[in-house]
């Protein structure tokens, strides 16, 4: 094991895969000369040269389409969005082309492409730069959506995403790029897409949380443990396909669930998880499922309002007490 920053784990995954497979290339704004807006691709231009590490103009719709075209023609592009907020400019490319060409061509074409970059809120960036996009993209059949919470998962899952023959949206986070963590040095370290991780075993309540929210869940679990309550924490890691079975197994044990998700609540990941649980584990529920999400508004700018807007640890803690009927 090596201790790496989140950004280093992502870089390691890309470098290892690009060394393994010459059809893989990285393209995006400032990924080459500037070494990446968040220094994820630092040194990659020197290592692989300008044919495989390509700077683009500020034209997401253009370079997303270029990437899809390249994938159609046998390459395996990694497209970096400086943030997924900018992916909305390329919405048609992602939703109509990347997601649907394989279906509409009757399987004649596959789209082995990864769109990656930071997703979700990252402080005082105001309404248009703070969107959590996982619910938006996960609703589209044909797209896979991955959102790791730690460097090790990031490496293993990104390598799997790059090798996947379908379009994968790989969601990172500005505020997690500096996070350090042990990362496997195993050769060909692959974590399967669609497999959740039981991060902490418990018996009294299940916390489901991905990406940054996962860390809120772990803190809540610690607080509950101090009071003698045993929380199980599940990190889905992949938003679509969602590993519902692992969540259900946990619910059958704990009978209670709190979902933490920094997406807006309406028609979101938490809605979907809630639906799946009540559909398949109804008789195991001892309390209504509670979700702690961002507020149902655009993200505010003011620091105090932004803190209020985001899922809060105290709310998640109280929700756990509530579903355990110990509040």
């Amino acid at each position: 094991m090596a201790e790496l920053q989140f950004r280093e784990a992502i870089r390691a995954a890309m470098v290892e895969e690009m060394e393994r497979d010459a059809t893989i290339f990285l393209m995006g704004e400032e990924v080459a000369q500037y070494n990446g807006a968040y220094k994820v691709s630092e040194g990659m231009l020197d290592k692989f040269g300008p044919r495989r590490v390509i700077d683009t103009p500020i034209s997401e719709n253009g370079f997303a389409g270029l990437g899809i075209g390249a994938a159609l023609n046998g390459l395996r592009p990694i497209i970096e969005f400086m943030t997924f907020n900018f992916s909305f400019v390329a919405f048609d490319q992602l939703i109509n082309n990347a997601a649907k060409i394989r279906y509409m061509s009757g399987g004649q074409f596959k789209i082995p492409i990864v769109f990656r970059g930071p997703n979700g809120a990252a402080g005082q960036l105001a309404a248009t730069h703070n969107t959590s996009t996982e619910s938006i993209y996960a609703t589209i059949p044909g797209l896979k959506v991955v959102a790791p919470s730690n460097p090790d998962d990031a490496k293993g899952l990104l390598k799997s995403a790059i090798r996947d023959d379908d379009p994968v949206l790989f969601l990172e986070s500005e505020v997690m790029y500096g996070m350090r963590g042990e990362v496997s040095e195993e050769e060909d370290y692959l974590i399967p897409i669609g497999k959740a991780r039981v991060a902490r075993e418990g018996t009294d309540v299940t916390l489901v949380a991905h990406s940054k929210s996962y860390w809120i869940a772990m803190r809540v679990a610690d607080r509950l443990a101090e009071e003698g309550y045993s929380a199980e924490v599940i990190d889905p890691r992949t938003i679509r396909p969602l590993d519902v079975d692992t969540i259900l197994d946990s619910i059958r044990k704990t009978n209670r669930c709190v979902i933490i998700d920094e997406s807006n609540p309406y028609a979101s990941i938490s809605s979907e998880i809630t639906y799946q649980i009540q559909d398949r584990a109804f008789d195991f529920l001892d309390a209504p499922i509670v979700r702690i999400t961002a507020k149902d508004t655009p993200a505010p700018y003011a620091k105090n309002l932004m803190a209020y807007y985001m899922p809060q640890e105290d709310d998640a803690y109280r929700a756990c007490k509530k579903v355990m009927y110990v509040d």
Partner: protein, 436 residues
């Protein structure tokens, strides 16, 4: 002004009633004193009367539904009246506060002459909302089904009285696997704190689930309370019944000639006990832990256990010490008949100061009975057997009966119980004394 019709307290041990059938339709006019429904209590099926005139606006309780005391059964009022406010009052968190259980009239023990004994512990206020729905989490429902627990028997500790996992676990923990002496009395309702309960192995389809009747629940609750609370000890005596057998033959010859019903051995024993109770006041008393006192009743009311389809019930022969044998026989016969038809009224089965239980007709030689609280003792009566007895050095045929007195040691000690039993024996071995 809409008038709520609440579940009344129809017996001293009742905690809830099951609405058996509606006799009036919604929209029908009713007058004070009209019977609108039948309610099954733990003891009997009884008529539910209304106390006001009006129109039956809504049947809140459904047939077959258990409603706690004070819970809303129906709403009376003027035609077309808005009752949503009243329903809301009973529906939400305020249900308990809005609909407190009526103070149990039977539980109040008047002082002075002829005081009736207290027969029950004070009733706990129900917190369950009385909108008629039993609220339970899906898991709690599943667990209740698996373990044959009636949800209406479980007090929900969740929001708005929702029954949740820990409430079912508490019931499972409380279920005594086998009655154990010296075990602390279980609370009648689940405690609010989570209690970890081992999940018992489920036998799957290997059993039939029988719904607990109100009577079965009452038997379970009261006898468990008795056995766990009152330290029982047992005194067995063998009684020479030769003279009583002969005495009864002569009595019944007279009764037949007069066109009266027969007098049973049990009637003679009831009379013997009643007379003996007058001489042994502690056996005719109660140890009341909550009140911190012993009560010695000035009247003698002997209850007789009667087996009925769903269990057993103990109708009471009031002032049995002052009644003649023919009257005791007639009353016992009538009460047993009413019991079997589930027509006993609360006054028929409450207020006993002593109880007898007879299994002689089954050929049972001797057995021990569980005290019927708050009695001090119960007499278990075995069969009269033809046995060889030694009289004046000769073996001759004799008639013997074994009786076993179960005593609550908190009020009756060994010597006191023995003296009582000796008196009973004296009466039965020389039954002419019953006439004095």
């Amino acid at each position: 002004m809409a008038i709520p019709v609440e579940m009344p307290k129809m017996s001293d041990t009742m905690e809830e009633g099951v609405l058996v059938s509606w006799l009036v339709d919604e929209g029908a006019k009713v007058s004070a004193g009209d019977v609108i429904a039948q309610v099954e209590t733990d003891k009997a099926t009884m008529d539910l009367e209304v106390y006001d005139d009006g129109v039956l606006l809504k049947k809140v309780a459904q047939e077959g539904e258990a409603v706690p005391i004070g819970g809303l059964i129906a709403v009376l009022g003027k035609e077309g009246e808005d009752i949503s406010g009243l329903l809301a009052k009973y529906g939400g968190d305020g249900a308990a506060a809005e609909a407190p259980p009526k103070a149990p009239a039977q539980a109040e023990t008047p002082s002075g002459d002829g005081a009736k004994p207290t027969t029950i512990a004070p009733v706990k206020p129900e917190e369950a909302p009385s909108d008629g729905r039993v609220k339970a989490s899906p898991l709690a429902r599943k667990m209740a089904t698996e373990h044959g627990i009636e949800l209406s028997d479980v007090r929900g500790s969740g929001p708005e009285g929702r029954i949740i996992k820990r409430d079912i676990e508490a019931v499972l923990t409380e279920r005594p696997a086998a009655p154990e002496e010296g075990k602390a009395a279980p609370a009648p309702r689940p405690a609010p704190r989570p209690v970890p309960a081992p999940a018992p192995a489920l036998p799957g389809e290997a059993y039939e689930v029988v719904r607990l009747s109100q009577m079965r629940k009452a038997i379970a609750r009261r006898l468990a309370q008795s056995k766990f609370t009152a330290p029982h000890f047992y005194l067995t005596a063998e009684i020479d019944m030769d003279k009583t057998v002969a005495f009864r033959s002569r009595l019944n010859a007279l009764a037949e000639a007069q066109g009266r019903g027969k007098i049973s051995f049990n009637d003679l024993i009831t009379k013997a006990c009643a007379l003996a109770l007058r001489q042994h006041p502690y056996v005719n008393g109660s140890y009341l832990e909550a009140e911190g006192e012993i009560r010695l009743y000035r009247e003698v009311h002997v209850a007789v256990a009667v087996a009925v389809d769903e269990g057993l019930i103990t109708p009471v022969i009031r002032n049995a010490d002052r009644k003649g044998l023919a009257q005791i026989a007639e009353e016992t016969r009538e009460l047993a008949e009413k019991a079997r038809n589930r027509q006993l009224q609360p006054e028929d089965y409450s207020g006993a100061t002593f109880t007898t239980s007879n299994l002689g007709m089954f050929g049972i030689e001797a057995f021990t009975a569980i005290i019927n609280p708050p009695n001090a003792c119960i007499l278990a009566i075995g069969a009269i057997r033809d046995v060889p007895v030694v009289r004046d050095g000769e073996i001759v045929p004799g008639k013997r009966m074994k009786v076993t007195l179960s005593c609550d040691h908190r009020i009756v000690d060994g010597a006191v119980g023995s003296r009582f039993l000796t008196t009973v024996r004296d009466y039965l071995e020389e039954p002419l004394n019953l006439m004095l």
